[in-house]
Symmetry: C2
Subunit: 521 residues, 2 copies
């Protein structure tokens, strides 16, 4: 058995069964090993940012990491933005990065690169394997380091792949089981919640499940607290029958207003709220001066176990959680815009759908509008690096082949990783992509004003940096170029019809929704 084969066996034995891949010459023995070893599904992508974003989406829905297979430092560089998003969202990922043979590195061939240096910027653990005899146990360490919510990277020199591994395979990596926080800390949090009538539980972490929402709703009701979700949750189960929760607004000014009456903030998996960007004369910290912030549990803890312990300590088991009713709106008519698009989404969303939200300004209306739709999962852009949505939808659909994936995607964001459409077709994934095409980086138009640059009014050159209407992109032609069925909708009726058709069929579809820019400021 060569090193590559022992590596794949170890990955599979440890539950890493999907590898999103962009191989090159240095990875050919790993690629060859896919046929020699059972159990690993290799999924080819046309660009490494698709591979890492897909690994993110897969892990969010599968609850365990996928692997990526990347080609030296440049391949890792291409993957970096979506690895960043995963890291910020507490999503596990196992990166396998091919390198030159160990003895070849000293010659500084053209693709020689500082892989460890690049990987260290986004990884909880980086290791470069030095021999075929070690690669399997190295992989166990990497998978263990990834655990349930970390990025870990293993560098695989070509000769470590191709030489024989003479050793027995090690035991598989242990499954990472998070622990609830201790009783004393829970008691402290409950005391804080009870002693204030202006308290808030601020929840985040890798998954806010239906059960977690229900338990927290009981705690909030019993202690008279507010319950609020972080701005960009990694994964939240929501819709009819799920707990009602506030969500912290994106804009710092609105978030400050949202938190201004809170004097006690209990963090559960979320970090203390901060402004997404800095702006002149706007505070970075969003809670009010003097607000007590108590970190009850980090994203590393067992959040459901912690919430359940709180419910038990309060004796609140029998309280009914405060959940959303089901309210399905009628089909919209007239202009296709953010509101009518959101109305269609809410009206048609199938049960157990997975919504991947990179809809930017157009997508903003979709979240509140779908609160009372059929129950579903919602995935958000956790690290702020656009080009995540389409790849994430690939991975979510691979993880959950029996659930419809709906990807809300801005036109500007879509262009970062448009190659993901090809992988959707190749793997026949059940994804409906909705491109919100307003022909602008509309969020930047808003942000330009908010930063106060040039009095908030862009000049001609600046305006051209925010505008993507020249030339205008045609996403129907782009999708068809990747072999994907696609339609363009220009009215609410058209969108509703096309969206309904896409949901009733199985397989990849794209709808280009021609929408006006949302005016937010």
């Amino acid at each position: 058995m060569n090193g590559a084969e022992s590596l794949i066996k170890t990955l599979v034995a440890s539950g890493v069964e999907v590898c999103f891949s962009n191989p090159g010459t240095s990875e050919m023995h790993f690629v060859a090993a896919l046929d020699e070893v059972d159990g690993m599904r290799g999924i080819l992508t046309l660009f490494e940012g698709v591979a890492s974003g897909a690994a993110d989406g897969y892990a969010r829905m599968a609850g365990k990491p996928a692997a990526t297979l990347l080609h030296l430092g440049p391949g890792l560089g291409n993957a970096l933005a979506n690895i960043h998003n995963a890291r910020k969202g507490n999503v596990p990922m196992v990166n396998i990065i091919g390198d030159h043979a160990t003895y070849h590195l000293k010659y500084d061939a053209p693709l020689t690169s500082d892989i460890e240096g690049i990987a260290a910027t986004v990884s909880a653990d980086v290791h470069c394997s030095q021999s075929s005899g070690d690669i399997a146990s190295d992989a166990v360490n990497t998978i263990s380091a990834a655990g349930r919510n970390k990025v870990a990277s293993l560098i695989l020199p070509a000769d470590v792949s191709w030489n024989d591994n003479p050793n027995e395979l090690p035991a598989a990596a242990p499954i990472s089981v998070p622990q609830p926080v201790d009783e004393a800390r829970i008691a402290e949090a409950l005391e804080l919640l009870r002693s204030s009538d202006k308290s808030m539980i601020f929840v985040g972490g890798d998954t806010v499940s239906a059960e977690l929402g229900h338990q927290l709703s009981r705690v909030a009701q019993h202690t008279g607290s507010r319950l609020c979700l972080e701005t960009f949750p990694t994964r939240v189960s929501r819709g009819a029958g799920r707990a009602q929760m506030e969500k912290l607004p994106y804009l710092a000014e609105m978030a400050i207003e949202h938190l201004k009456d809170v004097d006690t903030l209990i963090l559960l998996g979320a970090t203390s709220p901060v402004s997404f960007f800095a702006y002149p004369n706007v505070p970075s910290v969003l809670q009010a001066d003097g607000c007590t912030v108590f970190e009850l549990a980090t994203a590393d803890h067992d959040l459901l176990g912690t919430a359940t312990a709180m419910v038990e300590a309060l004796g609140a088991d029998s309280l009914a959680p405060n959940v959303h009713p089901e309210q399905i709106p009628p089909a919209p008519s007239g202009e296709l815009n953010a509101m009518s698009l959101a109305q269609s989404l809410s009206a048609l969303l199938p049960e157990n759908a997975i919504v991947v939200d990179e809809g930017a300004t157009t997508g903003l209306a979709c979240y509140p509008y779908t609160e009372t739709a059929k129950p579903h999962d919602w995935l958000s852009l956790t690290g702020g690096s656009i080009g995540w949505g389409l790849p994430c939808a690939v991975g979510a659909a691979v993880a959950c082949p029996d659930q419809k994936v709906i990807c809300l995607e801005g036109d500007g964001s879509a262009m970062y990783t448009i190659q993901a459409l090809w992988s959707m077709v190749r793997e026949d994934l059940d994804v409906t992509v909705v491109i919100c095409n307003n022909q602008k980086y509309n969020i930047l138009d808003l942000e330009f004003t908010r930063t106060g640059a040039r009095g908030g009014v862009p000049g001609e050159k600046a305006a051209s940096m925010l505008d993507i209407s020249n030339p205008s992109m045609n996403f129907v032609e782009l999708a068809q170029g990747f072999g994907m069925q696609a339609k363009r909708a220009t009215t609410a009726e058209e969108f509703h019809q096309f969206f309904s058709e896409a949901l009733q069929e199985r397989g990849p579809r794209l709808i280009e929704a021609m929408v006006p820019c949302v005016q937010i400021a």
Copy 2:
């Protein structure tokens, strides 16, 4: 004047007049400053890999760096692969990377990232500016560090952009002037060349100009040496009237054969030849055992000055360089394949054209076939990271608006940075893109065999990782989706006609050449 304005003034004063940009919120004051300060051309790209590749192409042709404007660590990550290619090709680049405001970093907002860590892996110099009063002098240092052939990166926190710069602007960065090597070293090299009848001058560096080629031809003739170009030259002036030079083959086995009789290798701007990848049982070092390798000049030296000094020392000024005659082939007919495509290229190549070669296996025939075409410049993929060609063509066309740019592009490579087509249309660049569509990562098929993995024969899963025919991509539809005129050619006659039309018109055109896979092994 705020920090951003003083930065742009300093860039322009130092000759950095083009900025390939993907701005985000943290860069809005820089964007605003484009209207407040004269002389900077901002060129929007849809993806940072296009920006860095375009900066590479611009610098190769302009002989001075462009700037990139990137959005924090993830934006830099997206740009990294093409920065790597520039670095390996001795191409200068000035990266301006926006960051959070200095006081905001400690809150670890979602886009907070280790920018310095990432930049350090590809930059000769990295600096994070700490105040608006320093940013202009920091920029002078960064531009100086980039000089004529290095990558340098300047991190620009948002508050450094927006706060006032109370200081006088510093003097512009001095123009970097390379030095020829000293006389003693030249004498040593000449002695080595004269004392061997199996010597070779191996040339590389950032530009092999017509003049440099002519001088080296004189030296080679006078000393009875061979003259050989490195495998992937950054920029070489070639065609009719240019010096005849060998080129070291890509495949290690062929390169070893090419060098086997050489006992004295004189390096001029090139590094010692090594195998591009390692393969089991193939040496990394390509020259014969016992061959004397003498590094006469690095890429940092004045290569033309060095060669001229050699000619003078030899008294060889009056020797006529050994140049290619002009031999223009007729139009091809029949099957469209690598050979007939190369024949069309050679027949139609306009004088002073710039050929950007990322044509992979199909492009291999084009280089030798165009030796006797009209004189032109040829740019190669220097760092081995694919997704360079289309962006490089953008930059080359911006630098040289009066020269036709021809981009030979593989289908697999094209998909890494296909967004470059949009920038070609937006800027109305005079680029003809030829997509060599064989629906395969054909180079990897070859490399699979060469690595000997699985006896050189891919299994079903491995074969699927090398195949991009399912679904097949349609580059005409993709181009049209970006607003670009495009045609598909399936015969040699069609290709010749479409290519001829594209060359006679001005502006961006794409031709999808449907070609069979080249069989190399």
